[in-house]
């Protein structure tokens, strides 16, 4: 009798379009880009910063360093997070990120 061993495919370590970017950071950037329009709609956040770890929003703050401290305090590494400013972004600087 032949037995077939099925294994679950491991989660990809990298994205096929961004092979040099850690997957955690990439997913965090995508969450940032996805939610940016909503954040921009609130003028109270203009010029503030927002941090993501994957799809989780870690926080919103006036300064990026405050969020970096917050992420570090949670034991997160910078390679799995994205801390971005709440301001309109130039699509030319986000090449291909919207393809996924």
């Amino acid at each position: 009798m032949e037995t077939t061993k099925t294994t679950e495919a491991p989660a990809p370590a990298v994205d096929d379009l961004f092979v040099n970017t850690p997957i955690g950071m990439l997913r965090s950037m995508q969450a940032y880009m996805r939610e940016l329009p909503e954040l921009l709609a609130n003028p109270a956040y203009g010029g503030w910063w927002v941090a993501y770890c994957g799809n989780e929003r870690i926080g919103i703050s006036r300064t990026g360093h405050e969020l970096a401290r917050k992420c570090a305090a949670r034991g997160l590494r910078s390679a799995e997070c994205y801390i971005g400013i709440i301001a309109p972004q130039d699509p030319d600087e986000w090449v291909g990120l919207d393809l996924h």
Binding site: F18, N20, T21, P22, M25, M29, G47, W49, T63, G64, H65, A68, R69, C71, A72, L76, R77, S78, A79, Y82, I83, G84, I85, A87, D92, E93, W94, V95, L97
Partner: protein, 162 residues
């Protein structure tokens, strides 16, 4: 945070590590430190390197691989690549890094959301600190052409008159 420095209308030189670097007339030089991790606290051992304050540059910080290695002691392969920006049709990688501006009292941590641009080849001639880094960190910059002095500071907590 306050940084007060002067610039010259004459060519001059500055020492960087064991090199003498030419600073051209009207170039405003600030001193920065690049460290591999945005999350890390200030490391007093981090080398200082010069950067041209270029308010015409629309990005955060630009440096060549060679300067990054020689002056900051960092291999670009040790910096996480974040994304790319398109410049004159060419994709330039942006790397995650911590950037500290040496101010009058103590270094100031510049929050850099998009990372720093690291170039192959020999351009830019000197590292460049762009307007985005000043803007996103809410810094005020004053250029006094009459005395050839520059002040970069965080906004004061209050204004006069009230």
């Amino acid at each position: 945070m306050k940084l007060h420095f002067s610039y010259s209308d004459q060519k001059s030189t500055i020492p960087v590590r064991d090199e003498i670097i030419e600073v051209r007339a009207y170039q405003m030089i600030v001193w920065v430190s690049v460290v591999p991790d945005f999350f890390k606290h200030w490391d007093p051992q981090a080398p200082k390197l010069p950067a041209i304050l270029d308010t015409g540059n629309n990005h955060n910080f630009a440096i060549t691989k060679d300067h990054l290695l020689r002056w900051a002691g960092i291999q670009v392969s040790g910096l996480v690549e974040k994304k790319h920006m398109r410049e004159r049709g060419v994709l330039v990688p942006l790397h995650d890094a911590g950037l500290w501006l040496h101010a009058d009292a103590e270094p100031f941590n510049l929050a850099i959301d998009d990372g720093i641009a690291v170039y192959d080849g020999n351009w830019p001639r000197l590292p460049t600190l762009g307007l985005r880094a000043l803007t996103n960190n809410g810094l005020q910059s004053f250029i006094y052409g009459d005395t050839k002095e520059v002040v970069i500071r965080t906004p004061p907590a209050w204004w006069w008159p009230f």
